[in-house]
Amino acid sequence: MTNAISGLGLAPEAAMVTFPIALFLPGSDIGAVEARKQEFYDGLTRWSPRLAAGPSGESPVVAVQGATFDDALVKANNAMLANQWGDGLPLWPPTRARVEWILQGSARPRTDALGTFPPRGGVATVETCAIALAMAGGRPEYLPVLLAAVEAFLDPESGSEQLQAASGSAFPVVIVNGPIGRQIRLNSGFGCLGPDPQHPAGASIGRALRLLQQNVGGARPGIGTMANYGGLRYTNVVFAEDEANLPAGWPAHGTERHGFAPGQSSISLVFANGATNIRRRGAKKETPEEDALQGMHRMADFMRVPNLAGLAGYEHGTPGILMIPGVVAQTMVGLGWTKRTMREFLWEHSRIPGEHLARAGGYAWIEIDASKVARESAALDPWPITASPDNFVLIVAGGGHPTNSYWLQGYSPGVVGREIRVPEGFERLLAEAERDLGG
């Protein structure tokens, strides 16, 4: 809660009376309210903040000493955990030298502020981002992607102000388009959502974003974020669209959704809170047409569930990101499908019968939604899981294998795009990466 207070520009503290969660459950004994009434009275009359108005100053530098470098590294990692700056995995201490190295990847001055991270309201500067990327094992050529992702994250349209703290376990998904994906070794193929020594960029960038969410934004489990489960939050999700395998005439996501020029490096940020493989291909003697249609039905059927995650982005966001491999997209196009007809099929066939929505209590959530369009959708039966087919994010990515597709369940009020700006001398950084990591 103090995170939220400081996020409003107030001193990071408040007159609060806090109770264990049991008090907030249906049928609870609320006698504790009377027992502690004086705390309420004092909050209204005697309480005073410890911090006065004004900037709290620059972040300090921390120092540790060890008998050897290894010992100092251990102590630095222990200190980062003790200060609740870590994520449980080993970190690179963000030394001045390492941060200076990372900052070579910025086209902007290090002091430039990108905004304040909710809920705590910590100021995200270029330098703060470089510190997080240094901790996450990143490299300077990753920084342009991280900066664009942070800008998109802090855009009010993304919904981050609420999703940072909410219980629904949202995590940001960063989709990269343009040449930078290949240049910095972002994965777009086999295993693109997981660890890959040949394509290490996504893990570092996503981990840095998470560290910013936690350290600058104050989103620590059970304190600044009430995410029940927090899945995929070690590294979030950062990958590139497989543009080399887009079917002819199939626009790249950044161009289609955000209007970026073809070939422009860009990111698109979406919040999701689920990730599931969907078996797409048939198993026996289907014709190509049957195989395609059955796969589409399996994907749409999977989306036709009344858990209402897509309600968060019903009007302007997305019900989710459907990832299909390039080989599947090309086959579908060869059979006459287009990106548009695929979206329209998914929209139509993922509609939920009103009876199913009613028995799952779905209407109560729809009726209290902030969006008028969403509230009015309650009159539709079967109920479309999103306002428009255009809201589905359809991405070509994943290994060149036709059996599976992947669904990142959306929890995203918006889909926010940003162009990526690289600094002068970026080619040199790429050459150094090739020297360091191999060709």
């Binding site: 400081s6 520009g9 107030l10 001193a11 007159a15 969660i21 008090l23 907030f24 459950l25 249906p26 609320i30 309210v33 009377e34 009434k37 309420f40 209204l44 009359t45 005073s48 903040p49 911090l51 006065a52 108005a53 004004g54 900037p55 709290s56 620059e58 972040s59 530098v61 921390v62 120092a63 540790v64 000493q65 008998a67 050897t68 010992d71 100092a72 590294l73 102590k75 200060n83 700056w85 201490p93 963000p94 030394t95 001045r96 941060v99 991270f117 705590r120 309201g121 910590g122 100021v123 995200a124 500067t125 510190i131 997080a132 901790m135 350290n215 600058v216 009430m226 209290i368 902030a370």
Partner: protein, 97 residues
Amino acid sequence: MVMLEFFDPSGRLEVKQPHAPRLDDLAGKRVGFVSNEQWQAYRMLPLLKSLLERDFAGIEVLPIDAFPQGNALIGNEETAEQVKRSGVDAVIIGNAA
């Protein structure tokens, strides 16, 4: 010995505005509630209202629903203006969870 110096990664905070001043006494004051209407607020806040009314002479505690309720409404500027216009001396906000 090897020394490692590294940055605190939590970024700086800017305190842009002070908290509301506290009251010298609750007796004779006007107090309102702003509620998200969740997590047993419908039971806890009326209890608090009755306690205030019992313990402080001349206090006026507005009904729980005097202002817009619910997460979508309690944080917006319109609600804040409504609270200001009501002339309350203090506000209790609940329930967070």
